[in-house]
Amino acid sequence: MSTGTDLGIPALGGTQGVPRLAEDTPRQTKKDFTSDQEVRWCPGCGDYAVLAAVQGFLPDLGLKRENIVFVSGIGCSSRFPYYLDTYGMHSIHGRAPAIATGLATSREDLSVWVITGDGDALSIGGNHLIHAMRRNVNLTILLFNNKIYGLTKGQYSPTSDVGSVTKSTPVGSVDHPFNPVSLALGAEASFVARTMDSDRAHLTTVLQAAAEHRGTALVEIYQNCPIFNDGAFQLLKDRDEKEARVLNLVHGEPVRAGNDHVVVRRADGALAVVAESEAEPGSVLVHDAGDEDPSLAFALSRLDDGSMTHIPMGIFRSVSRPTYDDQVRAQVDGARSSAGGPADDEDLAALLRGRDTWTVA
């Protein structure tokens, strides 16, 4: 089994190489991470809760604030960096993972975060997202999924349910939606999790694990858009409904649905939710987020059939594999050290001359 960073097994942390505050400096607070800019999301937007959670959690990292960078794309959630008093770039639609890749690769000393939405990450920026994940760049990507285009006022998105009636689909959408977690697992992302805007405790736990993960951490955050898609996740928030629907993933523990149902692995390998009383002995799935093979995590993600009957929440996968940026830097460092250190004027002169020169007197 590989070593997922959330499993308490020592590994290179996600923020290793990023300067930390000295031990004797006063602890940072939420206020330190709050910029002087007025927050301009709609009243009741789920983004407020996520912003508060992030501002509240960042001090826990103990990093120097100036070494944290938030890069976003375009969309409501992509305004996020303006409200954090760190370095930030509000870039262009879909391209944040690419920009963040260039930044993270060239600056080991930065903790780089990507803020994106379902349209930004999965539609216009789908290509950059999957390539960041397959490369395993040391980034933490927060994907705000509200299943709608908010900033452009209510068109269906690549995560909208089939049949969604929106401004651009007056008789219902025919697009089959992406399941972002399935997509991330398919791209072999090394850390994949799902959490909820309104569940501050869960959100914070997942963010903590994501930040500590070295490599691309993809966190899907179900986020309510009160204007264009209000209540999209209400079944998962409602006290009576959520109990049976939310499958809380905890590493090393059986996957349960409510009090009396469990996830079992059937003889043919498929996963199913069955009444605990009918589960064959030994068939109950014990969640292993550190499984190098993403197949079971993928199967878990497929328990969501679109009807919200069973929605796994938590960390699907957390495995350690070499990161792109570490390896790119290692190649450059290796080339330099084997040549005796950084190039000086003499070295550059030799490079310019090349192998084949002649002299004119």
């Binding site: 100036e66 690419a98 080339a335 310019l352 002299t359």
Partner: protein, 626 residues
């Protein structure tokens, strides 16, 4: 020493032509290297199809390499070859029209089979039916001689045949008195792990040389004396290699790590290849998932304080447009290399063109000014790369460099500069507050500009106290906060343009070459047309007519004296490998009715053709005045 008489020539143009798989590019490269070692000045023109292996023996599959070398300075790869080496009927047919009567053709008769002739539409062999009698034709069974020379080798016939390009190289090396040592050393390095293939190639090379010496087919051999060049250490260099070296040198002189984001595209890929081998110089290369990501990675690296570079060609520049706009808005340094090729769309991937000028200057949404510069020769790509970095870092702006396929793959001798003589490109990052707030407290304003350059501070993440947010949304002047204020947008739009305009303060005036001082016609080019235009100008002046010549390296902004230069002549003629893009800009900027001369044939202008155009223009000017 050779027993045959030696004839001295002042210049020669040779074209090697064969099938894509015949190794003509390698043969040309080696002949170039031998020629450079002898001290001739030279210029080359590789010309090959986009297909890696087009169907054998067909016209679309013909690949050629032209080399012009002389005992004086050379400006172009030459209009018309003095010698054509045709490895098959397709190579003959594709190139014959370029060959002046009386020039020399060496044909590989082994390939002139009925089948191969039929493939290119020859009813009878042109070698036998008398249609080549206006040329000096050497009929040589290059393939069989090669196979025979390698009779003792335990190689397959196919493997032996593959060495025929070395036989041809050996023969041409004999004909023009070129040394073989360089090629022998090259082969030894290339085939170090395949001793038998190495021996076969060396044997074929020497057999070709000896063939020239012994056969009665060649009565004389030629020599071209070294050219007089300024003292120094020289090497040959292609435009793409010079560009890569220029960027590495700029990174070294700026003290900033170089980060190249790139996606493979012809004819720019060699820059990615070359830089990926320069990690030892602190170079990071990222092969991105697409053109957009490539420029995004570069911009991200720039935000982090590195030298962000992206390399591409026309189709890639189109894809990068939005991110370049983000670079304009965030006012970060960014260098974009566009190695132009024939367009539109996929166009002519391996052929040259200058048709991205307007795309570079205007091809983005909104008022989105950037600096645009263009190298004028393969070796000038080195200097232009350093200039691009200078402008990008000084003015915190995207800079687009317009090279093209002709410069990228063409080569010429280059006097290697001393490192200490290279421009100092040191940059200063912001380190602390640069302003005071309402209460008089020190504060950092990310869009407070340098009064001279209008550049904003480059404050990189990791600098305590300077935390700030940038982005593509319009920002308030000075503070950089989001602003939708009408007056602010108007001001910021003009400031961004004004910043680009101010680059003109630090670029040299356009120099005009008019030795007699009597010219009334100016020929003005930009970028890679320098060589052909200069050669054409020489031809015109040789007939006693005065003409002035100037070449623009800076296209946005223009040099400050350009308007004055344009107005000083009765007529300005602007040759371009597009349909008149610079001419449009000149008319728009200066209200000068320049005469546009254009061709989009995927090849550089032949100097003689241009000279004719210039002659006509001068004649019309004289008539018009009299």
């Amino acid at each position: 020493m050779s027993s045959k008489p030696l004839q001295r020539l002042d210049r020669v143009v040779i074209r090697f032509a064969g099938d894509s798989g015949d190794g003509m590019q390698l043969t040309g490269d080696r002949f170039t290297s031998e020629t450079a070692a002898l001290g001739n000045d030279l210029s080359t023109l590789p010309n090959f199809p986009a297909e890696i292996r087009a169907p054998a023996g067909t016209l679309p599959g013909v690949s050629s390499f032209q080399l012009h070398f002389a005992d004086h300075d050379v400006l172009t790869p030459g209009d018309r070859p003095d010698v054509l080496v045709a490895m098959n009927p397709a190579a003959l047919k594709a190139n014959l029209a370029d060959l002046p009567r009386g020039s020399t053709i060496i044909v590989n008769t082994d390939e002139f089979s009925k089948r191969n002739l039929a493939k290119v539409g020859y009813a009878a062999s042109p070698v036998e039916d008398g249609s080549l009698e206006s040329w000096h034709v050497h009929e040589i069974a290059l393939t069989s001689i090669t196979v025979e020379a390698l009779a003792d080798f335990g190689l397959t016939r196919k493997e032996k045949e593959r060495a025929k390009n070395m036989l041809a190289l050996g023969l041409l090396s004999w004909m023009y008195s070129r040394p073989l040592e360089g090629t022998e050393a090259f082969l030894k390095a290339k085939f170090a792990k395949a001793p038998e293939i190495l021996e076969a190639n060396l044997t074929a090379l020497r057999a070709g040389y000896n063939y020239g010496e012994t056969t009665e087919d060649f009565a004389v051999r030629f020599e071209v004396a070294p050219a007089t060049m300024p003292p120094g250490t020289y090497r040959t260099i292609t435009g793409n290699a010079a560009m890569a070296l220029g960027l590495v040198s700029a990174s070294h002189r700026a003290g900033l790590p170089l980060v190249l984001g790139s996606y493979p595209i012809t004819p720019a890929s060699d820059i990615l290849h070359t830089l990926s081998g320069m990690k030892r110089y602190g170079v990071t290369t990222l092969q991105a998932e697409d053109e957009i990501a490539a420029v995004g990675m570069a911009l991200g690296a720039s935000f982090g304080g590195a030298l962000g570079i992206t390399s591409t060609s026309g189709p890639g520049l189109a894809l990068k447009a939005e991110t370049i706009g983000l670079g304009v808005s965030t006012e970060l340094p960014l260098v974009i290399l566009d190695i132009q090729r024939g367009g539109p769309s996929t166009g002519l991937p391996t052929k040259t063109e200058q048709s991205d000028l307007l795309q570079a200057i205007h091809g983005r949404n909104g008022e989105s000014p950037v600096a645009v510069i263009a190298p004028q020769s393969p070796s000038d790509c080195f200097d232009i790369a350093m200039e691009a970095v200078r402008i990008a870092t000084t003015y915190r702006t995207p800079v687009i460099v317009l090279s093209d396929g002709y410069l990228a793959n063409g080569s010429e001798p280059w006097r290697v500069p001393g490192v200490a003589d290279l421009p100092d490109l040191e940059v200063e990052f912001a380190t602390g507050p640069n302003d005071t707030d309402d209460k008089g407290e020190p504060v950092f304003h990310p869009f407070l500009r340098d009064p001279e350059t209008l550049a904003r501070p480059w404050a990189v993440p990791g600098t305590a106290g300077l935390e700030h947010r940038i982005g593509g949304i319009e920002k308030a002047d000075v503070t950089g906060h989001i602003s939708y204020d009408p007056d602010n947008h108007d001001k910021m739009t003009r400031l961004r343009q004004g910043k680009i305009d101010r680059i003109a303060d630090t670029i040299p005036d356009l120099e005009v070459d008019d030795p007699s001082g009597e010219a009334r016609v100016l020929v003005l080019g930009w970028g890679s047309t320098y060589g052909p235009i200069a050669a054409a100008t020489r031809l015109v002046r040789a007939t006693g007519l005065p003409i002035a010549q100037a070449q623009l390296r800076h296209l946005s902004p223009f040099p400050k004296n350009l308007g004055e230069v344009l107005r000083a002549y009765d007529r300005v003629i602007v040759p371009e490998m597009n349909l008149g893009q610079l001419a449009l800009l000149l008319r728009g900027h200066f209200l000068v009715d320049v005469q546009s001369h254009t061709a989009v044939r995927g090849l550089p202008f032949p100097a003689a053709d241009l000279a004719e155009v210039l002659h006509k223009s001068i004649a019309q000017t004289l008539e018009g005045v009299q």
